[in-house]
């Protein structure tokens, strides 16, 4: 029996230390308990929990904390999708506006009619391959190649090539963003569904060259910039870009664009609306 004593001592010593530290930790946990916002754990329980970092935070815990602090949007959890966004919105009491659905938009109008071919491409039918050869088969080296890499990659069949340009069906698009990274020209952008006013060009060449390349190229004239009442359209790198977070969708830029490269997706009668509004201002008001 005596030879087993050291074993018993060892068990007693380590077990004792373990229990002692366990007790200390237990007491410390109670004593140093920090009151956390219960919404943090509630949000944490509804997000996807993959710690994938798609939301831009270090992990699901960090994202949940940021949501409760109001720094992060409720719909930033991509893997969780609409279900998670709704659940977070319910916890946080956010209204539906914050959960604006996103759609992908192809910013190019380089149809066969508008842009002339540079050369006859007869290689493998891939935008990535074609765009690497002498600036691509179209005169404009910034626009849609039209060979349908995005069509192949779209998991929902929302994209089709119409007249040489990729067109995305808003009603089918789920906003997954796969096409954005697929496009070798980088002309597809994720935009809120309500952002129907889009600069349909990414041509960064100077005006004279851009005009030669495409009939509807942005020439960087800055007329839209001057017209915009909310200062949300700017010419960056020689091409106009709308800041969708401040754009009021008034459509003032559409009317002044000489190249007709700013487009309203839903074809509102912007000219008519503006005329009506102007008329309303000039007419004397009878009702007061």
């Amino acid at each position: 029996m005596a030879q087993y004593l050291p074993v018993l001592y060892a068990i007693a010593a380590l077990g004792g230390l373990g229990i002692l530290f366990g007790l200390v930790l237990g007491v410390a946990d109670k004593k140093f308990a920090v009151k956390l916002d219960e919404r943090v754990s509630a949000v944490r329980s509804v997000v996807a929990g993959a710690n994938c970092g798609a939301c831009g935070y270090a992990g699901c815990d960090a994202y949940a904390a940021a949501v409760v602090k109001g720094e992060a949007k409720a719909n930033a959890c991509t893997p969780g999708g609409a279900k998670t966004a709704k659940a977070i919105a319910a916890i946080m009491g956010v209204d539906a506006d914050a959960l604006e659905p996103m759609v992908a938009r192809v910013r190019c109008q380089g149809t066969c009619e508008n842009v002339s071919p540079r050369y006859d491409y007869a290689g493998i039918p891939s935008c990535r391959a074609a765009s690497g050869i002498a600036g691509g088969p179209n005169a404009c080296e910034f626009g849609c190649v039209g060979l349908g890499d995005c069509v192949d990659r779209c998991p929902f069949g929302a994209i089709s090539i119409q007249d040489g340009v990729a067109v995305i069906n808003d009603d089918v698009c789920t906003g997954c963003g796969v096409c954005v990274s697929t496009c070798p020209r980088g002309i597809i952008q994720m935009l809120p569904k309500s952002q129907t006013i889009v600069v349909m060009c990414r041509n960064k060449a100077i005006g004279r060259i851009a005009r030669l390349q495409c009939k509807t190229a942005c020439v960087g004239c800055k007329r839209c910039e001057k017209q915009c009442p909310s200062d949300s359209i700017h010419v960056v790198d020689g091409v106009a870009l709308i800041d969708e977070t401040t754009c009021t969708r008034c459509g003032a830029c559409i009317l002044v664009c000489p190249m007709h490269c700013i487009v309203n997706f839903y074809d509102r009668d912007i000219a008519g609306e503006a005329a009506a509004a102007a008329e309303e201002e000039t007419l004397p008001k009878w009702d007061n």
């Binding site: 380590l14 230390l17 373990g18 930790l25 410390a28 946990d29 004593k31 140093f32």
Partner: protein
């Protein structure tokens, strides 16, 4: 030699000649893992200093007042791991409650230190070298400051590497290892600094 001078020499030797990373090769994982930015490297260094000092103190008591009386000296490794892990947990809770700003600044590094071999290394070296309580704690504090110096130096070099032109096969981790080796050789220059007095 007066005891004050002896203690001062001991401190310097902990930082320079017996640097935990460059001459004992302990704690190489965080040294390479979190030396991307000077700021985070400094945070890690401070956290290590904090924990190493406390760990030296507590393991001293655990060893001489629990393990030695029960003749269980051979269990020091596992007992020290237990002490360090619990200590880090308590420190984390304490900081979360009393110093939230420090807690968030140290962030993930605090729990990571639980598995830092430099911390365990210090506590075991304290025992094998036979240091008394004062020397144990000093060894912990100044050994960790040596770690701090090393990791901040490394982070400074790596920040510059970001923009440097490096041959493709050496990019990233390989060049970091080469630099760690060169820095280690540079620190070898201190090796006999206190040879005559220690």
């Amino acid at each position: 030699m007066s005891p004050i001078v002896k203690i001062l020499l001991f401190m310097f030797s902990c930082v320079l000649t017996h640097n935990y990373i460059f001459s004992r090769f302990l704690g190489c994982c965080p040294f390479l893992g979190v030396s991307g930015k000077v700021e985070t490297a400094f945070g890690m260094g401070i956290a290590v200093t904090f924990v190493m000092t406390l760990a030296s103190l507590f393991t001293y008591f655990a060893y001489y007042y629990v393990l030695v009386p029960m003749k269980l000296e051979y269990l020091n490794t596992i007992a020290f791991i237990l002490v360090i892990a619990s200590l880090v947990q308590v420190v984390e809770m304490f900081l979360k409650k009393s110093a939230p700003s420090l807690y968030s600044a140290l962030g993930i590094y605090l729990p990571l230190i639980t598995t830092n071999c430099a911390v365990l290394g210090v506590t075991i070296l304290n025992i094998t070298e036979g240091y008394n309580l004062l020397y144990s704690v000093l060894n912990g504090t100044f050994g960790a400051l040596g770690f701090l110096v090393a990791i901040v130096l490394m982070a400074g070099v790596r920040e510059r590497l970001e923009t440097a032109k490096i041959p493709a096969p050496l990019k990233g981790f390989p060049i970091s290892l080469v630099i760690a080796g060169l820095m280690s050789m540079a620190f070898l220059g201190f090796s006999n600094m206190f040879a005559g007095v220690m």
